[in-house]
């Protein structure tokens, strides 16, 4: 039995840092490379799957490099791994590299910024279930809020390479132009709708931007931008799938819009995770059951993180 399972589907692998680039004040893109068994396991990573990184031994940045709002928590010791999904997965020869788009919000992501080339990181993965493509899909709308743009970039790549007949359009939202986790500088971002973010354009995917304060693209939440687009679209509904990743309130609104328009919808959920591998039951997501008012808790790390938008019991908690 052991011999059979030698080609592991998932496991605890050591990855080597290739790059860790600051793309904006609080946003970074980390590239990790796997060889051997890890390369095999991660080569098959689906868009929306994730991994658990051990950052407990990673160094802190110098005092000057610590943002004021994190100065107080910076020294906190890290015990648990942290979950991250992938913005890209590429295989070259017998190596697999994965990109993680991340935002510095606490002690672990602060330490993450000091990872430098050739350092090794312990990575548990690939974990969970990613996005899927229902039969008959003709149009895919990728709707992200803030950091949710990461896994949707990977999805854009998978859709355009494996499903060339599907039209893909990306919607990216954030509080302001500064809070958009993309490399393009604010002064390059056009104020009108329909311009292209390079991260999506490189796959031939058009993108629309929305900012709450109107500093780039559509003024208002990305869900407003989506609604407006759907209102103008002649084919809304049939053969369309909305894929969404971002803050939970946004996902709930996206699921609501999808329901109104009778569009399939998949959402990537976030929960605090201790293990990421269904040992601890910490990552419960309340879900509806068919044919009753009862709800059940599913595990974000095992049953998700991607759920059908109509399945999640939004706002009951």
């Amino acid at each position: 039995m052991l011999e059979e399972s030698l080609a592991k589907k998932r496991g605890n692998f050591s990855a080597t840092v290739c790059a860790n680039k600051q793309i904006r004040e609080r946003f970074y893109r980390l590239v990790l490379e796997f060889s051997g068994e890890g390369a095999e396991a991660f080569a098959k990573t689906g868009a929306g799957q994730f991994a658990q990184l051990d950052l407990s031994d990673t160094a802190l940045p110098s005092v000057e490099a610590i943002p004021d709002d994190l100065a107080d928590v910076a020294e906190r010791k890290i015990l648990l791994r942290r979950p991250f999904s992938f913005a890209d997965v590429t295989t070259k020869g017998n190596k697999t590299s994965v990109d993680i788009l991340y935002c510095v919000i606490g002690p672990a992501t602060l330490r993450m910024t000091t990872l430098s080339a050739k350092e090794s990181v312990s990575v548990l993965g690939p974990l969970g279930n990613g996005f899927w493509v229902p039969d008959g899909t003709k149009t895919a709308l990728l709707v992200s809020g803030g950091m949710g743009a990461g896994p949707l970039q990977h999805l854009a790549k998978v859709l355009t390479s494996d499903f060339p007949d599907i039209d893909v359009i990306a919607f990216a939202g954030a509080r302001s132009a500064e809070a958009l986790p993309f490399e393009r500088r604010l002064d390059e971002i056009s104020q009108q709708l329909g311009f292209s973010l390079p991260e999506f354009a490189k796959y031939g995917v058009e993108s629309l931007v929305a900012t709450d304060d109107g500093s780039a693209g559509f003024t208002g939440p990305v869900t407003g931008c989506l609604s407006e687009w759907l209102g103008r679209s002649k084919s809304a509904g049939k053969g369309m799938v909305i894929y969404s990743c971002g803050p939970e309130a946004m996902l709930a609104r996206v699921a609501e819009i999808a329901k109104e328009k009778n569009i399939d919808c998949q959402v990537s959920m976030e929960r605090r995770m201790a293990c990421g591998i269904s040992l601890c039951q910490s990552c419960a997501v309340e879900c509806r059951t068919t044919g009753s008012n009862e709800t059940v808790y599913k595990l974000c790390c095992q049953d998700g993180p991607v759920f059908d938008g109509s399945e999640v019991a939004w706002g009951i908690e």
Partner: protein
């Protein structure tokens, strides 16, 4: 030094291949760990708490990290006795390590109902009684804090548990843990496990609300280890040593030396909980490490280590 070290242990009449368990609630129903280690290489496996009826568990957040520890308030989320027997026992039977089922309840009848059903199951070596549950018939006072209740629940379960080893899991936050330990043993416990988690709270200073949806949660991980070592030693010296009752020691074990500390303190075997979340293969490493430590100290049988704490402090210090 080619002599093989014997790290098998006799535990309340069962032969364990080695003295390392995974702790209840931190390694699911065993199948979840399979991708990361060979569960059969352990001395023992303990399931999460099983209750008569399935339990959804608490709302999220269910966990929060603390310095060198974590709080959990999972709420005994489990599939319930019937589903456990139908869906999980088959796989557990195939494990070559000893399987203990942790049982929980809110009334004495609930504990008894679970124990009675499991007493006839071949797959199971023993029962671990989680007495850190609120007794709903007594207004929610934890079973484990009142000597009379400990006596009542232990003897009631003992009556129906047949030839299964009955292990009672002690809560740490009591006036005198030895009093509880003595009552458990007098009421029929064949073994004791300690410690369960400490009830604790983390407050979000922005919202001034507790971080956990349940307000409080159980503190586990390296933060509690020195207290756990002390309590194991106390119970060993004051209660179990003279009676030959074995202790399963736990609380914050992450490394080989942590495990050995517990054994020296008086534990016949140890269980690893929170550390599985960080490294799901850590228990296998601890098994190997114990062997190496014994070999290095010319200890031919790990039994020699149990309770080998030197009484006197070196005068030179």
């Amino acid at each position: 030094m080619s002599e093989e070290v014997d790290i098998s242990v006799e535990f309340a009449g069962i032969r364990l291949a080695n003295p390392v368990f995974t702790a209840s609630g931190t390694s699911g129903y065993a199948d979840e760990l399979g991708d990361f280690m060979d569960v059969s290489s352990l001395g023992g496996f303990i399931t999460k708490s099983i209750t008569v009826k399935p339990r959804k568990g608490n709302a999220t957040p269910r966990i929060v990290e603390t310095d060198s520890g974590m709080l959990n308030a999972i709420g005994w989320a489990n599939i319930g006795l019937d589903a456990f027997i139908d869906e999980k026992l088959g796989a557990l039977e195939k494990l070559s390590c000893s399987v203990f089922v942790n049982i929980a309840g809110e009334t004495i009848d609930e504990y008894v109902a679970v124990a009675e059903r499991l007493a006839g199951e071949r797959a199971i070596a023993g029962l671990e009684l989680n007495i850190s549950c609120p007794n709903v018939e007594l207004g929610g006072i934890s079973f484990g804090t009142e000597p009379e209740q400990v006596a009542e629940v232990t003897s009631a379960v003992k009556k129906v548990s047949g030839d299964k080893v009955l292990m009672v899991k002690l809560p740490p936050a009591v006036t005198n843990v030895s009093v509880i330990a003595q009552v458990a043993v007098d009421s029929g416990a064949d073994a004791l496990s300690l410690i369960n988690t400490f009830t604790a709270m983390v407050i979000d200073i922005e919202t001034r609300k507790p971080v956990l949806a349940n307000r409080t949660g159980g503190l586990s991980g390296p933060a509690i280890k020195p207290i756990a070592v002390y309590l194991v030693n106390k119970v060993y010296e004051e209660v179990t040593k003279s009676l030959g009752i074995p202790i399963l020691g736990m609380g914050g074990i992450r490394t080989v030396s942590d495990a050995i500390e517990f054994i020296i303190a008086g534990a016949s075997a140890v269980a690893v909980g929170t550390a599985n979340f960080v490294d799901p293969g850590c228990t296998a490493k601890i098994v190997e490490g114990i062997k190496k430590y014994c070999a290095g100290k010319n200890i031919s049988n790990v039994k020699e280590l149990v309770g080998s704490l030197e009484a006197e402090q070196d005068a030179a210090n």
